[in-house]
Amino acid sequence: MGINRDYLGRTYPPTEPYEVSRVKIAEFATAIGDSNPLYRDRAAAQAAGHRDVPAPPTFPIVISMAGSAKALMDPGLGVNYAMVVHGEQRFEYSRPVYAGDVVTCRSTIADIRDAGRNVLLTTQTEISTVEGEHVCTAYSTVVERGGAGN
């Protein structure tokens, strides 16, 4: 067993469309303790130059997890999920996620490398609207502890 290096570069089919709601953005902002009215009040957001309520910078993880899970849960890839921890996370934004966006994710296995006894696996997830506008690219690196040398 162990992670199958032949899966490097593999791209998974897009996820089902996800419709971003103002309620979900407000819930997320509350959960991270951020009381910024831009995350709750459409008029305040528009007064600040936004088309609608924007989401906080880490909100795309709520959407991208469905894409990266397609890769990480692929039985052929061979990730031992019980041994996995989140190692690194990065977002490149074309623009904020906005309430009203309907987006899909397309994930690619971007990197597989050894780090001591562990294996680092990076998925690259493109979040785009169903109209084809790029919103954000999320890079998630998970660490499979003790996964090297299998």
């Binding site: 009215p37 910078p57 977002f91 490149e92 934004y93 890079y139």
Partner: protein
């Protein structure tokens, strides 16, 4: 030395107390910062209830974020915060500084240690700090951020590229 304009809310007592954030759009001007400009550090408290809320909001219900028995059974000292919760606090630090969530162009972290959250009335704290590491073209700057909890450096290699006014 340059003292960055700190939004009024930065002196607030803690989370949930900030007001006037909608007035903060494009508070920080590119011409007002230099490489090396320090940002005022901030402390964010974390209690178990915050992790429960984050489970629901994010959809990440991993038991190590709410069940002490299972967290300890897999070798953790106690329940730990989601790495993405910690990253969210660092993100909030950045958006509070610039005043505009739309001005964040790139944001990346490495999770270097867990934030351990005991089941008491105090919980844990995440202390975030930062400085302008580099000025780029087109009013963009690179922020280098730090995040600690107790003695542990919980985020490393944390960088945000933001566009200033």
């Amino acid at each position: 030395m340059y003292a960055p304009r700190i939004p009024r809310s930065w002196s607030a007592a803690g989370p949930g107390t900030e007001r006037g954030a909608s007035e903060m759009t494009a508070q920080v001007k590119y011409d007002d910062v230099e490489a090396g400009t320090e940002l005022e550090p901030r402390t964010y408290p974390v209690q178990r209830i915050d992790l429960v809320k984050y489970c629901g909001a994010s959809g990440d219900f991993n038991v190590i974020h709410w069940n002490e028995r299972i967290a300890k059974s897999v070798g953790l000292p106690d329940v730990i915060a989601h790495g993405m919760f910690t990253m969210a606090e660092a993100g909030r630090y950045v958006t509070d500084w610039i005043g505009d969530p739309g001005a964040v162009l790139d944001f990346g972290v490495r999770f270097s240690a867990p934030v351990v959250v005991p089941d008491d009335d105090i919980g844990a704290t995440i202390e975030v700090g930062g400085k302008v590491e580099e000025k780029l073209d087109d009013n963009r700057v690179v922020l280098a951020l730090t995040a600690r909890s107790g003695d542990a450096k919980v985020l490393s290699r944390t960088r945000a590229v933001v566009k200033l006014a």
